[in-house]
């Protein structure tokens, strides 16, 4: 007997008991749907995390952060000046595995334009700050060495700053205009691009509303902080906020201590080398005082992958169990259906079916149940993930990968085949005359 015929008979058998077949498939449908949804959600979360991490500077970005001096060095602590611009200059000169470096200061200050006000963190930085933090100046230009040398009152600002301060025309490109930062006018020389996740960007380019919307219907963007960036030259910042430190009426003198020092390793493989170099350089300038340490994204990156892997595994296991339960359901129904169709088996045997033919017929039938259940499960998963897209206000949209679809569907088919083996074997073992005598 040809395979096509078994298939036709199997489909007819399933179709003739539509409701029962659907119930039989339900386990497989739910199993596949939850398997694929789990994969989609996990992949979505991992993708969003990776995307976000890249936007924040990737694994190459390392912060040199201050730490408390250990107990035994307390007496020495005064000999170190902490992180300074000199440190940054030394790193720039001497660290082979560091490609970019920026010292920075920051302060939370009022920004004013006409009657509009916004409070935000401004950063005093070197030009490298922009590439290290994956910023892109879309209009105008970045801060330059000349700006630093002359301590110019210039700034580069993010799109959200414009949205907030130019509410009448949020898409304005106010290059050359003046922004009052903490009471002092700054000339806008550059505007950063709009930062957003991929799904949002695609939706916006297609002219649609952003995919990510809050329940209030307002556009939501997980990159708000990045879009609110305001940077000015480090030197300008220093003169404005750090050169004098007036407590009461007494000037305590300048504060050269940096708020931050950020480097970028030449590539992800040399992050540790870069850290080692910087560490030995700073140990000299800090006179052996252990008042700094490193904050890397490596652990975050690893934990993203690990979390994704674990969620995949746990969810996959639970979904897999429900698929197996679905398979047991198929076995059960197939056994019942064989008892029901024993006469048919007898007739087929009488006209020349071999036991192998009967085996194939039952196995094909359970496989078809698995396949149809698998397809319906995939459709259900698509529906579910689509629904999530519309209800979520989080950053991570589910991502359906071809491999996940193939894996979920393949598992359903496998379950269909496996669950048919025992019933098929039972059916094929019934002697022709026993089957004919029955009923």
């Amino acid at each position: 007997m040809n395979f096509a015929n078994s298939l036709a008979v199997g489909i007819r058998e399933i179709w003739s008991h539509k409701f029962r077949s659907f119930l039989t498939m339900l386990g497989v449908i739910l199993g596949v749907a939850s398997l694929l949804s789990t994969f989609a959600l996990t992949d979505g979360m991992a993708k969003a995390s990776r995307e976000y991490m890249t936007q924040m500077g990737g694994v190459e970005r390392v912060n040199v952060i201050a730490q408390e001096v250990p107990q035994e060095q307390l007496l020495l602590a005064d000999t170190s000046r902490g992180r300074t611009v000199e440190d940054a200059e030394l790193i720039q000169r001497a660290a082979k595995h560091v490609s970019l470096v920026t010292p920075w200061y920051t302060q939370f200050v009022p920004l004013v334009r006409k009657s509009e006000r916004l409070r935000a963190y401004i950063y005093g930085v070197w030009p490298d700050y922009v590439p290290i933090n994956r910023h892109t100046v879309e209009f105008g230009r970045n801060i330059t060495q000349t700006d630093l040398d002359e301590g110019r009152a210039v700034c580069v600002i993010g799109t959200r700053v414009i949205e907030q301060l130019w509410p009448e025309k949020p898409n304005a490109k106010p290059l050359g205009e003046t922004l009052t930062i903490n009471g002092k006018p700054f000339k806008i020389i550059g505007i950063f691009q709009l930062y957003e996740n991929e799904d949002n960007r695609i939706a916006r380019l297609k002219g649609k509303k952003p995919v990510l919307t809050t329940r209030k219907g307002k556009s939501y963007n997980p990159y708000t902080t990045k879009n609110t960036a305001v940077i000015i030259p480090l030197t300008t910042f220093y003169y404005e906020y750090r050169a004098a430190n007036i407590v009461g009426v007494v000037d305590q003198g300048p504060i050269p201590k940096l708020d931050g020092l950020t480097i970028q390793a030449t590539d992800p493989e040399h992050v540790q080398d870069a850290i080692d170099e910087v560490s030995s350089l700073l140990t000299q300038t800090h006179r052996g005082v252990d008042d700094f340490t490193f904050d890397t994204r490596q652990e975050l990156a690893e934990s993203i992958e690990k979390t994704a892997h674990n969620t995949r595994l746990t969810g996959g296991l639970i979904a897999g169990i429900s698929l197996i339960v679905g398979g047991i359901g198929i076995t059960n129904i197939m056994l019942a259906s064989i008892t029901e169709r024993i006469r048919e088996i007898g007739v087929r045997r009488a006209v020349g079916a071999k036991s192998g033919h009967i085996f194939t017929q039952i196995l094909v039938e359970s496989t078809v149940v698995g396949i149809i259940g698998g397809v319906l499960g995939l459709v259900a998963a698509l529906g579910m993930t689509h629904l999530i897209k519309f209800t979520t206000d989080g950053a991570s949209l589910p991502v359906i990968q071809t491999a996940s679809v193939a894996l979920s569907f393949g598992f359903a088919v496998l379950i269909g085949v496996l669950s048919g083996i025992y019933p098929a074997w039972t059916a094929s073992r019934i002697a022709p005359i026993e089957a004919l005598r029955y009923g």
Binding site: M1, R343, V347, V351, K354, S355, I433
Partner: protein, 239 residues
């Protein structure tokens, strides 16, 4: 060589402690082209005998040769091939597949022969025409009368052009008029040269067949009355 030859065939069933001798030393020869009726009371072993002749079962002891093939100890697969190529069955309860229409039911044996779809359809149509049911070709068995169902069963038995057609009480579920028309069909098939073995407990029905094989308690009890052809069964063993 005869088409069917049985030598000292026994079929025993064991039910608990008890042994049932369904067939007890059968010697039988049926020639190509014969029309024979196996007759006997209920429980005498008619169906058991037919199952052996029809390769649905194998004997406990003895030898069964069908068309030159010793099927007494053949494998399950070989028996299936014999049934498929050389044997057609007609049952008392028709045994049609309820979910399939007339043509599909008639096509069934050819599916296991590996006949192409087109040829299957052509041959099924020819067989259904032969039994005069072409106008019901797309009906399912439930939409047919008993007599029509039995005609479909006969068409199915004939579609692979078998050497022998076995019919176990083919008129048992039919009224006398319908039964008579089915028997008429068998007579025509016989006249066309087909070997037919009819199983019945009814002497009148058995009269349709030129040869009568009477069976009682698993033994053949007398020579057939009336017309006989070819070599005959030996005299029944005296108890």
């Amino acid at each position: 060589m005869a088409l069917i030859e049985l030598r000292e065939v026994t079929k025993r069933y064991r039910v608990g402690e008890q042994e049932i001798r369904a067939l007890d030393g059968i010697d039988l020869t049926i020639e190509q082209g014969e029309y024979a009726a196996i007759i006997g009371p209920s429980g005498s072993g008619k169906s058991t005998l037919m199952h052996l002749l029809g390769c649905l079962d194998t004997p406990t002891t003895g030898k069964v040769v069908i068309d030159g093939v010793d099927v007494s100890s053949a494998t399950d697969g070989r028996l299936a091939e014999m049934r498929n190529e050389k044997i057609g069955f007609v049952f008392q309860s028709f045994n049609l597949l309820g979910k399939f229409n007339v043509l599909e039911n008639v096509e069934l044996p050819m599916i296991y022969t590996g006949v192409s779809k087109k040829e299957r359809r052509d041959r099924a149509i020819a067989a259904v025409e032969r039994v005069g049911l072409m106008d019901r070709a797309k009906n399912t068995p439930l939409q047919l009368s008993g007599g029509q169902m039995q005609r479909v069963a006969i068409a199915r038995a004939l579609v692979n052009d078998p050497k022998i057609v076995f019919a176990d009480e083919p008129t048992g579920n039919l009224d006398s008029t319908t039964g008579a028309s089915i028997l008429q069909l068998f007579r025509e098939l016989s006249e066309q040269g087909r070997t037919i073995v009819l199983v019945t407990h009814d002497s009148e029905i058995a009269d349709n067949a030129p040869r009568r094989i009477e069976i009682r308690d698993g033994k053949i009890v007398n020579r057939a009355a009336g017309f006989q052809s070819g070599i005959h069964t030996p005299p029944p063993p005296t108890a």
